[in-house]
Amino acid sequence: MGYFSPPPGIYLIWAYVPDEVLHSLGITYYPSRYWALAIPVWIMTLVWFVFISFMSINLMNTAPFDSFTCITDEHANVLTSAPSQKDHPEDYIPELHDIPISVVNAMLYQDEAEEGLSDQAFVEAHSMTHDAEEWPLFGNFSLGS
């Protein structure tokens, strides 16, 4: 309240006080007044540049439609068999898993013939349609290869 820290005060004095007054005070060695305008303008442009480049970098890093990073990556903990029902306490919280894309698809766009299947049978029917070594989503997945 009533106290202004030195830097803004010095900036205002340097920008606004006329040359003759500063020379009469003995202050002759200071940067050209051009910078009193140039630096704030540059900072304003920098702010807009940061907004636009942030959005652009996000768009550039978005994976294309045909990339596997849309589905999974090397940190996924993929569910290969439905969790077992043996002796757990009632408030047991099972381990977190990522559901493979085939199971998700089957759940969302389900064929009517499969509505009666149990969870175990459902996951096993849809989680693998190929050998594990050849399907890139299980085990051998590495980005950029």
Binding site: L59, T62, A63, P64, F65, D66, S67, F68, C70, I71, I101, S102, N105, L108, Y109, D111, T129, H130, E134, W135, P136, L137, S145
Partner: protein
Amino acid sequence: MSPSQYSLNPLTNELSYRALPGVREYVVHSDAQIWSITSIAFLTLCAIFSYVMRDIVYMRWVIGCALAAWVWIKFNTVKEESILAVRNVGVQVKTTYLSGRSVSQFIERSRVCDIIIHEAITMWQVKFYMAIITAKQDKMTVVFEHLLPPLNPTLITVYHGARSMIFSDTNP
């Protein structure tokens, strides 16, 4: 087998299919034409400009580039895209352009891991698309890549139909 058994049957205003025992092809059309209203308006505008500014030499280059750009756009406009699923043989994904040129990719049955519907982000929205996960390839094969039809009924119909050809042993 008479030709009328393999004719194109419309399902919605953009999706149609052809079917034989063990074969099913889904075709998505776009309503792009070579001589649309905007094209005719653009060409008449170019003709008017080239007559009005016939004395200005550099405008010939400008109008020439505009016409070349129009031709290039028309050559790269997609007319229809299709997926053809043949039981135990494989899947073919084809894109046909306005010029009649078509680009197709065939994936044999042993390399098809799965056919999925997934959603991904384009520049400003999330779109549903259908993709084929193929073995020994570092990316998926996107079906209907340029036209990107809506989820229902188009993608769901194609999803059930193609999967019944590839991932089941009996005729549906």
